[in-house]
Amino acid sequence: MHKLLPLPFFHVWVYLQTQPLLGLAATLCAWEVAALLDQRAGHKAYSNPTVLAVAMLVAALLLTGTSYQTYFSGAVYIHFLLGPATVALAVPMYANWPAIRRNFVPILVSLGAGSLVAALSAMLIAKALGAPHEVVMSLGPKSVTTPIAMGVAQQLGGLPALTAVFVIITGLFGTLICGPLYKAARVRAWEAQGLAAGTAAHGIATAHMIRLNETAGAFGGLAIGLNGIVTAIIVPLLVALLPL
Protein backbone atom coordinates (compact mmCIF):
# COMPACT_ATOMS: atom_id res chain seq x y z
CA MET A 1 0.00 0.00 0.00
CA HIS A 2 2.86 2.42 0.77
CA LYS A 3 3.70 2.61 -2.94
CA LEU A 4 0.14 3.56 -3.84
CA LEU A 5 -0.55 6.26 -1.27
CA PRO A 6 1.04 9.66 -0.49
CA LEU A 7 2.76 9.58 2.90
CA PRO A 8 0.12 11.33 5.10
CA PHE A 9 -2.54 8.95 3.79
CA PHE A 10 -0.24 6.02 4.34
CA HIS A 11 -0.16 6.96 8.04
CA VAL A 12 -3.95 7.06 8.08
CA TRP A 13 -3.97 3.60 6.46
CA VAL A 14 -1.53 2.26 9.08
CA TYR A 15 -3.68 3.74 11.84
CA LEU A 16 -6.89 2.23 10.43
CA GLN A 17 -5.17 -1.16 10.17
CA THR A 18 -4.99 -1.25 13.98
CA GLN A 19 -8.68 -0.35 14.40
CA PRO A 20 -11.82 -2.46 14.01
CA LEU A 21 -13.61 0.31 12.06
CA LEU A 22 -12.26 -0.60 8.62
CA GLY A 23 -13.24 -4.28 8.73
CA LEU A 24 -16.73 -3.38 9.95
CA ALA A 25 -17.23 -0.64 7.33
CA ALA A 26 -15.88 -2.86 4.54
CA THR A 27 -18.24 -5.72 5.47
CA LEU A 28 -21.30 -3.45 5.55
CA CYS A 29 -20.37 -1.69 2.29
CA ALA A 30 -19.66 -4.99 0.52
CA TRP A 31 -23.06 -6.26 1.70
CA GLU A 32 -24.87 -3.13 0.48
CA VAL A 33 -23.25 -3.40 -2.97
CA ALA A 34 -23.95 -7.16 -3.07
CA ALA A 35 -27.59 -6.64 -2.06
CA LEU A 36 -28.00 -4.00 -4.79
CA LEU A 37 -26.49 -6.33 -7.43
CA ASP A 38 -28.74 -9.14 -6.19
CA GLN A 39 -31.79 -6.90 -6.50
CA ARG A 40 -30.80 -5.85 -10.04
CA ALA A 41 -30.33 -9.51 -10.99
CA GLY A 42 -33.80 -10.33 -9.60
CA HIS A 43 -32.69 -12.42 -6.54
CA LYS A 44 -31.20 -15.26 -8.56
CA ALA A 45 -29.30 -18.07 -6.79
CA TYR A 46 -26.08 -17.02 -8.57
CA SER A 47 -26.44 -13.45 -7.33
CA ASN A 48 -26.60 -14.59 -3.67
CA PRO A 49 -25.44 -11.54 -1.70
CA THR A 50 -23.40 -13.66 0.76
CA VAL A 51 -21.32 -15.10 -2.11
CA LEU A 52 -20.87 -11.70 -3.77
CA ALA A 53 -19.89 -9.93 -0.53
CA VAL A 54 -17.41 -12.68 0.42
CA ALA A 55 -15.84 -12.55 -3.06
CA MET A 56 -15.47 -8.75 -2.93
CA LEU A 57 -13.93 -8.81 0.55
CA VAL A 58 -11.52 -11.65 -0.29
CA ALA A 59 -10.38 -9.68 -3.35
CA ALA A 60 -9.97 -6.54 -1.21
CA LEU A 61 -7.90 -8.37 1.44
CA LEU A 62 -5.62 -9.92 -1.19
CA LEU A 63 -5.18 -6.63 -3.09
CA THR A 64 -4.32 -4.60 0.02
CA GLY A 65 -2.31 -7.37 1.69
CA THR A 66 -4.52 -7.18 4.78
CA SER A 67 -4.56 -10.26 7.03
CA TYR A 68 -7.82 -12.02 7.88
CA GLN A 69 -7.10 -11.43 11.59
CA THR A 70 -6.97 -7.65 11.01
CA TYR A 71 -10.18 -7.75 8.98
CA PHE A 72 -11.94 -9.98 11.51
CA SER A 73 -11.16 -7.66 14.45
CA GLY A 74 -13.84 -5.38 12.92
CA ALA A 75 -16.08 -7.96 11.25
CA VAL A 76 -16.42 -9.82 14.57
CA TYR A 77 -19.20 -7.37 15.58
CA ILE A 78 -21.33 -8.67 12.72
CA HIS A 79 -20.18 -12.26 13.21
CA PHE A 80 -21.29 -12.11 16.85
CA LEU A 81 -24.91 -11.48 15.83
CA LEU A 82 -25.09 -15.06 14.51
CA GLY A 83 -25.76 -16.18 18.11
CA PRO A 84 -28.82 -13.95 18.76
CA ALA A 85 -30.00 -14.66 15.18
CA THR A 86 -29.90 -18.41 15.91
CA VAL A 87 -32.07 -17.83 19.01
CA ALA A 88 -34.34 -15.61 16.87
CA LEU A 89 -35.17 -18.66 14.70
CA ALA A 90 -37.45 -19.66 17.59
CA VAL A 91 -39.89 -16.91 16.48
CA PRO A 92 -40.75 -18.29 12.98
CA MET A 93 -40.61 -21.82 14.44
CA TYR A 94 -43.24 -20.85 17.01
CA ALA A 95 -45.39 -19.19 14.31
CA ASN A 96 -45.30 -22.46 12.32
CA TRP A 97 -45.54 -24.78 15.32
CA PRO A 98 -48.93 -26.32 14.33
CA ALA A 99 -47.46 -27.39 10.96
CA ILE A 100 -44.28 -28.67 12.61
CA ARG A 101 -46.22 -30.63 15.26
CA ARG A 102 -48.49 -32.18 12.65
CA ASN A 103 -45.43 -33.38 10.72
CA PHE A 104 -43.25 -34.43 13.63
CA VAL A 105 -42.49 -38.01 12.52
CA PRO A 106 -42.01 -37.11 8.82
CA ILE A 107 -39.64 -34.32 9.87
CA LEU A 108 -37.52 -36.60 12.07
CA VAL A 109 -37.35 -39.38 9.45
CA SER A 110 -36.58 -37.07 6.48
CA LEU A 111 -34.04 -35.04 8.39
CA GLY A 112 -32.32 -38.06 9.94
CA ALA A 113 -32.00 -39.79 6.56
CA GLY A 114 -30.71 -36.67 4.75
CA SER A 115 -28.29 -35.85 7.54
CA LEU A 116 -26.81 -39.37 7.58
CA VAL A 117 -26.51 -39.56 3.79
CA ALA A 118 -24.88 -36.11 3.51
CA ALA A 119 -22.26 -36.71 6.24
CA LEU A 120 -21.44 -40.27 5.23
CA SER A 121 -21.18 -39.62 1.47
CA ALA A 122 -19.00 -36.54 2.02
CA MET A 123 -16.48 -38.48 4.12
CA LEU A 124 -16.47 -41.63 1.93
CA ILE A 125 -16.02 -39.68 -1.33
CA ALA A 126 -13.20 -37.53 0.07
CA LYS A 127 -11.45 -40.63 1.42
CA ALA A 128 -11.86 -42.51 -1.87
CA LEU A 129 -10.36 -39.54 -3.74
CA GLY A 130 -7.31 -39.58 -1.51
CA ALA A 131 -7.91 -36.64 0.86
CA PRO A 132 -5.84 -36.83 4.08
CA HIS A 133 -7.50 -37.95 7.34
CA GLU A 134 -7.90 -34.44 8.84
CA VAL A 135 -9.61 -33.19 5.67
CA VAL A 136 -12.01 -36.18 5.74
CA MET A 137 -12.81 -35.49 9.41
CA SER A 138 -13.30 -31.78 8.67
CA LEU A 139 -15.88 -32.70 5.99
CA GLY A 140 -18.10 -34.84 8.26
CA PRO A 141 -20.03 -32.01 9.95
CA LYS A 142 -20.05 -29.58 6.98
CA SER A 143 -23.83 -29.59 6.51
CA VAL A 144 -24.56 -28.01 9.88
CA THR A 145 -24.32 -24.45 11.09
CA THR A 146 -20.77 -23.08 11.63
CA PRO A 147 -20.47 -23.14 15.45
CA ILE A 148 -21.73 -26.75 15.69
CA ALA A 149 -19.65 -27.90 12.72
CA MET A 150 -16.44 -26.45 14.16
CA GLY A 151 -17.05 -28.08 17.54
CA VAL A 152 -17.71 -31.50 15.99
CA ALA A 153 -14.64 -31.21 13.71
CA GLN A 154 -12.44 -30.48 16.72
CA GLN A 155 -13.82 -33.51 18.53
CA LEU A 156 -13.06 -35.76 15.49
CA GLY A 157 -9.49 -34.53 14.98
CA GLY A 158 -10.34 -32.37 11.97
CA LEU A 159 -9.36 -28.74 11.43
CA PRO A 160 -12.12 -26.37 12.63
CA ALA A 161 -11.00 -23.49 10.36
CA LEU A 162 -11.15 -25.79 7.33
CA THR A 163 -14.60 -27.00 8.43
CA ALA A 164 -15.82 -23.40 8.59
CA VAL A 165 -14.82 -23.01 4.93
CA PHE A 166 -16.51 -26.31 3.97
CA VAL A 167 -19.66 -25.15 5.75
CA ILE A 168 -19.71 -21.96 3.67
CA ILE A 169 -19.02 -23.78 0.38
CA THR A 170 -21.77 -26.29 1.23
CA GLY A 171 -24.22 -23.49 2.00
CA LEU A 172 -23.44 -21.63 -1.21
CA PHE A 173 -23.55 -24.77 -3.35
CA GLY A 174 -26.83 -25.87 -1.74
CA THR A 175 -28.37 -22.43 -2.36
CA LEU A 176 -27.30 -22.50 -6.01
CA ILE A 177 -28.55 -25.99 -6.72
CA CYS A 178 -31.70 -26.33 -4.57
CA GLY A 179 -34.10 -24.54 -6.97
CA PRO A 180 -33.41 -26.68 -10.08
CA LEU A 181 -33.04 -29.81 -7.92
CA TYR A 182 -36.47 -29.36 -6.29
CA LYS A 183 -38.01 -28.82 -9.70
CA ALA A 184 -36.38 -31.95 -11.16
CA ALA A 185 -37.27 -34.16 -8.17
CA ARG A 186 -40.76 -32.62 -7.80
CA VAL A 187 -40.23 -31.41 -4.26
CA ARG A 188 -43.09 -28.89 -4.31
CA ALA A 189 -44.21 -28.28 -0.71
CA TRP A 190 -42.58 -25.31 1.04
CA GLU A 191 -42.25 -27.50 4.14
CA ALA A 192 -40.16 -30.07 2.23
CA GLN A 193 -38.07 -27.40 0.43
CA GLY A 194 -37.26 -25.56 3.64
CA LEU A 195 -36.51 -28.71 5.61
CA ALA A 196 -34.13 -30.04 2.94
CA ALA A 197 -32.36 -26.65 2.61
CA GLY A 198 -31.82 -26.38 6.37
CA THR A 199 -30.72 -30.02 6.69
CA ALA A 200 -28.24 -30.18 3.80
CA ALA A 201 -27.10 -26.55 3.59
CA HIS A 202 -27.88 -24.92 7.00
CA GLY A 203 -28.32 -21.14 7.47
CA ILE A 204 -27.10 -19.95 4.07
CA ALA A 205 -29.72 -21.94 2.16
CA THR A 206 -32.27 -21.13 4.87
CA ALA A 207 -31.55 -17.40 4.43
CA HIS A 208 -32.41 -17.98 0.77
CA MET A 209 -35.64 -19.85 1.64
CA ILE A 210 -36.71 -17.11 4.11
CA ARG A 211 -36.75 -14.67 1.19
CA LEU A 212 -38.99 -17.01 -0.81
CA ASN A 213 -41.57 -18.12 1.79
CA GLU A 214 -42.13 -17.83 5.55
CA THR A 215 -43.14 -21.47 6.05
CA ALA A 216 -40.07 -22.65 4.13
CA GLY A 217 -37.95 -20.40 6.35
CA ALA A 218 -39.49 -21.83 9.52
CA PHE A 219 -38.86 -25.43 8.43
CA GLY A 220 -35.32 -24.42 7.45
CA GLY A 221 -34.75 -22.94 10.90
CA LEU A 222 -36.12 -26.07 12.52
CA ALA A 223 -33.82 -28.22 10.39
CA ILE A 224 -30.73 -26.15 11.33
CA GLY A 225 -31.37 -26.71 15.04
CA LEU A 226 -32.40 -30.37 14.76
CA ASN A 227 -29.63 -31.33 12.34
CA GLY A 228 -27.10 -29.61 14.58
CA ILE A 229 -28.15 -31.92 17.40
CA VAL A 230 -28.42 -35.03 15.17
CA THR A 231 -25.02 -34.44 13.54
CA ALA A 232 -23.28 -33.74 16.85
CA ILE A 233 -24.44 -37.21 17.99
CA ILE A 234 -24.36 -39.26 14.74
CA VAL A 235 -21.11 -38.19 13.04
CA PRO A 236 -18.77 -39.06 15.96
CA LEU A 237 -20.56 -42.47 16.18
CA LEU A 238 -20.12 -43.09 12.43
CA VAL A 239 -16.44 -42.26 12.64
CA ALA A 240 -16.01 -44.64 15.59
CA LEU A 241 -17.88 -47.50 13.89
CA LEU A 242 -16.68 -47.24 10.28
CA PRO A 243 -13.15 -47.52 8.85
CA LEU A 244 -12.95 -43.84 7.84
Binding site: V54, S121, L195, P236
Partner: protein, 118 residues
Protein backbone atom coordinates in the same frame (compact mmCIF):
# COMPACT_ATOMS: atom_id res chain seq x y z
CA UNK B 1 -35.79 -3.25 20.09
CA UNK B 2 -33.19 -3.06 22.85
CA UNK B 3 -35.41 -5.17 25.09
CA UNK B 4 -35.88 -7.74 22.33
CA UNK B 5 -32.12 -7.90 21.70
CA UNK B 6 -31.56 -8.26 25.44
CA UNK B 7 -33.97 -11.19 25.54
CA UNK B 8 -32.25 -12.90 22.59
CA UNK B 9 -28.78 -12.40 24.10
CA UNK B 10 -29.98 -13.69 27.48
CA UNK B 11 -31.33 -16.89 25.88
CA UNK B 12 -27.96 -17.31 24.18
CA UNK B 13 -26.22 -16.70 27.52
CA UNK B 14 -28.34 -19.25 29.40
CA UNK B 15 -27.86 -21.74 26.53
CA UNK B 16 -24.09 -21.23 26.66
CA UNK B 17 -24.01 -21.64 30.45
CA UNK B 18 -25.92 -24.93 30.13
CA UNK B 19 -23.66 -26.10 27.29
CA UNK B 20 -20.44 -25.31 29.16
CA UNK B 21 -21.76 -26.54 32.49
CA UNK B 22 -22.85 -29.93 31.17
CA UNK B 23 -20.15 -30.22 28.49
CA UNK B 24 -22.74 -30.76 25.72
CA UNK B 25 -21.62 -30.98 22.06
CA UNK B 26 -24.61 -28.80 21.02
CA UNK B 27 -23.71 -25.07 20.84
CA UNK B 28 -25.14 -22.55 23.31
CA UNK B 29 -27.24 -20.55 20.78
CA UNK B 30 -29.03 -23.75 19.65
CA UNK B 31 -29.87 -24.59 23.29
CA UNK B 32 -31.05 -20.95 23.60
CA UNK B 33 -33.31 -21.48 20.57
CA UNK B 34 -34.86 -24.59 22.16
CA UNK B 35 -35.39 -22.73 25.46
CA UNK B 36 -37.01 -19.75 23.70
CA UNK B 37 -39.34 -22.03 21.73
CA UNK B 38 -40.27 -23.97 24.89
CA UNK B 39 -41.02 -20.65 26.66
CA UNK B 40 -43.32 -19.43 23.83
CA UNK B 41 -45.18 -22.76 23.77
CA UNK B 42 -45.70 -22.81 27.54
CA UNK B 43 -46.24 -19.13 28.36
CA UNK B 44 -47.63 -17.63 25.16
CA UNK B 45 -46.42 -15.97 21.96
CA UNK B 46 -43.44 -13.59 21.67
CA UNK B 47 -44.21 -9.85 21.98
CA UNK B 48 -44.66 -7.73 18.86
CA UNK B 49 -41.31 -6.07 19.62
CA UNK B 50 -39.51 -9.43 19.82
CA UNK B 51 -41.22 -10.66 16.63
CA UNK B 52 -40.13 -7.58 14.68
CA UNK B 53 -36.55 -7.69 15.99
CA UNK B 54 -36.25 -11.41 15.21
CA UNK B 55 -37.63 -10.88 11.70
CA UNK B 56 -35.21 -7.97 11.20
CA UNK B 57 -32.21 -10.08 12.26
CA UNK B 58 -33.26 -13.06 10.12
CA UNK B 59 -33.81 -10.85 7.09
CA UNK B 60 -30.07 -10.13 7.19
CA UNK B 61 -28.97 -13.67 8.11
CA UNK B 62 -26.94 -13.75 4.88
CA UNK B 63 -24.87 -10.75 6.04
CA UNK B 64 -24.01 -12.47 9.33
CA UNK B 65 -22.21 -15.32 7.49
CA UNK B 66 -19.94 -12.94 5.55
CA UNK B 67 -17.15 -12.54 8.16
CA UNK B 68 -16.79 -16.35 8.58
CA UNK B 69 -16.95 -16.79 4.81
CA UNK B 70 -14.04 -14.42 4.24
CA UNK B 71 -11.98 -16.87 6.38
CA UNK B 72 -11.55 -18.84 3.16
CA UNK B 73 -8.47 -16.62 2.42
CA UNK B 74 -6.53 -18.45 5.15
CA UNK B 75 -7.33 -21.91 3.78
CA UNK B 76 -6.46 -21.52 0.09
CA UNK B 77 -3.40 -23.79 0.54
CA UNK B 78 -5.22 -26.78 2.04
CA UNK B 79 -8.08 -26.25 -0.40
CA UNK B 80 -5.81 -26.21 -3.46
CA UNK B 81 -3.97 -29.41 -2.47
CA UNK B 82 -7.20 -31.40 -2.12
CA UNK B 83 -9.43 -29.33 -4.38
CA UNK B 84 -10.91 -32.19 -6.44
CA UNK B 85 -11.66 -34.46 -3.47
CA UNK B 86 -13.19 -31.59 -1.47
CA UNK B 87 -15.32 -30.16 -4.27
CA UNK B 88 -16.63 -33.54 -5.45
CA UNK B 89 -17.36 -34.61 -1.86
CA UNK B 90 -19.25 -31.39 -1.07
CA UNK B 91 -21.14 -31.26 -4.37
CA UNK B 92 -22.29 -34.89 -4.32
CA UNK B 93 -23.08 -35.08 -0.59
CA UNK B 94 -25.01 -31.78 -0.57
CA UNK B 95 -27.03 -32.85 -3.61
CA UNK B 96 -27.79 -36.23 -2.00
CA UNK B 97 -28.70 -34.60 1.32
CA UNK B 98 -31.10 -32.14 -0.34
CA UNK B 99 -32.67 -34.90 -2.43
CA UNK B 100 -33.08 -37.47 0.36
CA UNK B 101 -34.61 -34.98 2.82
CA UNK B 102 -36.73 -33.15 0.23
CA UNK B 103 -38.09 -36.23 -1.53
CA UNK B 104 -38.80 -38.10 1.74
CA UNK B 105 -40.64 -35.12 3.24
CA UNK B 106 -42.59 -34.51 0.02
CA UNK B 107 -43.57 -38.21 -0.02
CA UNK B 108 -44.96 -37.98 3.53
CA UNK B 109 -46.89 -34.79 2.69
CA UNK B 110 -48.33 -36.13 -0.60
CA UNK B 111 -49.37 -39.38 1.11
CA UNK B 112 -51.26 -37.40 3.76
CA UNK B 113 -53.04 -35.28 1.12
CA UNK B 114 -54.15 -38.46 -0.63
CA UNK B 115 -55.65 -39.82 2.61
CA UNK B 116 -56.91 -36.77 4.52
CA UNK B 117 -58.26 -38.80 7.45
CA UNK B 118 -55.18 -40.93 7.99
Amino acid sequence: MVRALTILVLYQLVGTIIQQGLGLPVPGPVIGLVLALAWFLKFGPPSEDLRQTAQGLLKYLGLLFVPAGVGIVNEFGALRENAVAILVAIAVSTTLGLLVTGVTMQWFLTRREAKPHA
